[in-house]
Symmetry: C2
Subunit: 330 residues, 2 copies
C-alpha cells in the first residue's frame, strides 16, 4: 500500500495525503473534514510510509552508522548498546558493522554507510583509513572517532587517556613491589595500543629496568599464543608481573596458564575490565574505561554536529579508573 493507492482510493491527490499524514494539513490548507477522512483511512489500513522513499525525498535517513572492531567483544558490545539507547532518544537508529580490524572491510563498510546516507558516523577506525575519513570530513558529515585516533587527521574524538592510564597501571605494579614486568599486547600500530605501549615503556625506563614485550598477531591461534607465552617465561624466568594491553589477552593468558598447569604467580594488570576480573582468584586489577560515559560523549558529539556542524574539532578524553584488586598485592 503506497501513498498513491491511498490517494486513488480516496479520490484525492497524493500531495494532500502526504500533507495530512505529516501533520501539515493546516499549512497545506486542507479542510479538517478531509484530513479526518484521510487519517481514518490511513489508520484503517495500517499504512506505513516507505522509509526509503521518505529519506530520498527529505534527505534524512534518521540513521547513524556505528563502525566498531568487533560487536561481540566485551568492550564494543556494551558500548554499542549504550549508543543505540541514547540515539534512540533522539529518534535515530543505528546501522552497525564490525571491521574485525581489517582495513578492506572497514572501507567497504564505510562506503556502504555513505551510500545508505547515514546522517553521521561513529567510527573506531582501523589503520589506513586516513583518506576515507578525510573525505567524510570534507562532506561535513557528522563524524566522531571512537576509542582510537587516526594519525594526521583532525576529527572529533572520544576516548580514554591511554598513555596516562597505562603509565599509572604499570607504576602501580612497581609501587607494589613488582619490578620485572612483562607486557603482552597485540601486533598493532593502532594509536591507542601504541599509547599503552609507550606508557609501559616510559615507566619501565623510569624505573631503570629492562622492558619485556611480546606482541601477538591480531587473531592468533591458541597454540601460537601458548608457544609465545611459554617462550616468554623461559626467556625471562624472573619475571614477576604481567601487564596486558587489553582484557581478552589477559583472559586468554589465564586460560593458557591453566592449560599448561603453570603454577608461578604473577602480579597482573589488564587494560579494560571484564566480568572475570572481579571473580577470578586472585581478583585482577585493571584499567576500567567508563563505557557509558564514552558512549554518551560520542552520541552527544554526533547530535550536536547534526544540529550544526561548525567543523570545529573537539576531543573528549575520558579518564579511566585503575581498579585495584588482589592481583597486584604481593
Amino acid at each position: 500500500m503506497s501513498i498513491n493507492d491511498i490517494a486513488k482510493h480516496l479520490k484525492v491527490s497524493k500531495s494532500t495525503v502526504s500533507l495530512v499524514i505529516n501533520g501539515k494539513a493546516e499549512q497545506g490548507r486542507i479542510s479538517q473534514s478531509l484530513a479526518k477522512r484521510i487519517l481514518d483511512y490511513v489508520e484503517e489500513i495500517g499504512y506505513k510510509p516507505n522509509a526509503l522513499a521518505k529519506s530520498l525525498a527529505t534527505g534524512k535517513s534518521h540513521t547513524i552508522g556505528l563502525i566498531v572492531e568487533n560487536i561481540g567483544d566485551s568492550f564494543f558490545g556494551p558500548i554499542a548498546l549504550y549508543i543505540e539507547e541514547k540515539l534512540r532518544q533522539y529518534g535515530y537508529h543505528v546501522f552497525y558493522s564490525s571491521t574485525l580490524g581489517n582495513q578492506d572491510n572497514a572501507n567497504e563498510i564505510l562506503n556502504m554507510m555513505l551510500e545508505k546516507k547515514v546522517e553521521g558516523i561513529i567510527l573506531s577506525p582501523t589503520l589506513g583509513q586516513k583518506s576515507p575519513i578525510e573525505k567524510i570530513l570534507k562532506k561535513k558529515l557528522p563524524l566522531v572517532l571512537f576509542d582510537r585516533r587516526v594519525e594526521g587527521v583532525e576529527a572529533n574524538y572520544v576516548g580514554t587517556d591511554n598513555y596516562v592510564a597505562s603509565k599509572n597501571a604499570v607504576q602501580h605494579l612497581f609501587d607494589n613491589g613488582f619490578s620485572r614486568i612483562g607486557f603482552i599486547t597485540i601486533e598493532s600500530s593502532q594509536p591507542q595500543m601504541l599509547d599503552r605501549l609507550k606508557g609501559y615503556e616510559d615507566v619501565v625506563s623510569d624505573n631503570s629496568v629492562e622492558s619485556i614485550i611480546i606482541k601477538l598477531p591480531y587473531q592468533s591461534s591458541i597454540d601460537e599464543f601458548t608457544l609465545k607465552i611459554q617462550s616468554m617465561f623461559k626467556t625471562y624466568p624472573n619475571m614477576d608481573a604481567l601487564y596486558f594491553s587489553t582484557n581478552y589477552l589477559c583472559v586468554k593468558t589465564l586460560k593458557i596458564l591453566q592449560n599448561i598447569n603453570y603454577t608461578n604467580k604473577f602480579g597482573m594488570v589488564a587494560f579494560d575490565d571484564h566480568d572475570l576480573f572481579e571473580l577470578y582468584t586472585p581478583t585482577i586489577t585493571c584499567v576500567s574505561q567508563p563505557l557509558e560515559e564514552l558512549a554518551l560523549k560520542a552520541v552527544n558529539s554526533i547530535i550536536s554536529q547534526l544540529k550544526e556542524n561548525t567543523g570545529e574539532v573537539e576531543e573528549f578524553i575520558i579518564p579511566s579508573k585503575l581498579i585495584i584488586r588482589d592481583s597486584t598485592k604481593k
Copy 2:
C-alpha cells in the same frame, strides 16, 4: 554528485549512464567507446550511487534486520558478529537493534525495519509479538525466529533444545550427589525460559525432591538481587546446588556471594557458557550453546527464503553441550 549530473556533464541520458554503471551496456546496446567514456568519468569523480534511490527503484535493500534482546551480552553479541560475517558473504548488511526485552521497543523496532524495507528479519522475539510476527508472515517476508519461539506462531525457528539441555544439566547435578537444587531464573514467560524451568521441575520431581525456585525481575538492582538470594539461603539452609537459567545470573550471584562473604559451597550449573566459567575457582559446569552454528543456521534459513519463500516452516534445533567442570564435582 548524482547520476543526473554525470549525464549532463557527459551530454548523455541518465538511462545510458545507469546501464553502463550496472554492467548492462551490452544489453542496453551502448557502444564500447561511450561506455568507457562514462566509466572513466565515474571513476574520476568517484561517483557512488545513492543506495536509497537504488533500493527504492529496485525494491532491494540488501539489508537484513537483526533484532536481539541485548547486543551487549555475551550470548547475542558474538552471535551478532557471526551473523554479520555470514551475511556479508552473501552481500547483505545488517541493521540491528536491541529490544531489552521490552515489547514496545520491540514492536517499534520491527516497524522501523519494515519501513526501511529490510529484506528479511532475524528476530529474538519478546512476549506479545504474535500479531506483528503474523503480519510479517503474511507479507511473505523472510523471517527466522531466534533463540525463542512465539506461542501459536508457525515460523522458521533456530534455537537449542532448552528443555532437554536443562533436564540433562539438572540430572547431572543429581548424578553427582547433589539433591537440594535451587533454580535461579528471571521473571519471564519467554518460551526458552519456561522450557528451562520445566526441565528443572521435571527432573526435580523425578527425583522426588522439593523444587526451590527464585525468579528475579528482568533488570533487578544488585540490592534487590542480593536480598532475594540471601532470603533463599535462609529459607533453604540445606540447599546444596544452584542451577541458573542463564549465565549472567550466575555471574551476578557469584559477585554477590563474594560481596556478602558467603562461604558455603554449592554445586553449580549455568545455562550458556561464559569466559569466567572456565577460569573461576571452581570452574563452572554449564550448558553451552553452539553460537556459530546457531548463527549459521539462522543465516542459511534467511538466505534460502530470500531465494524462494515457499512458506514452508522449518525448525532447526541445535543441541547444546553440557560442559562438565569442577563446580559439579562433590
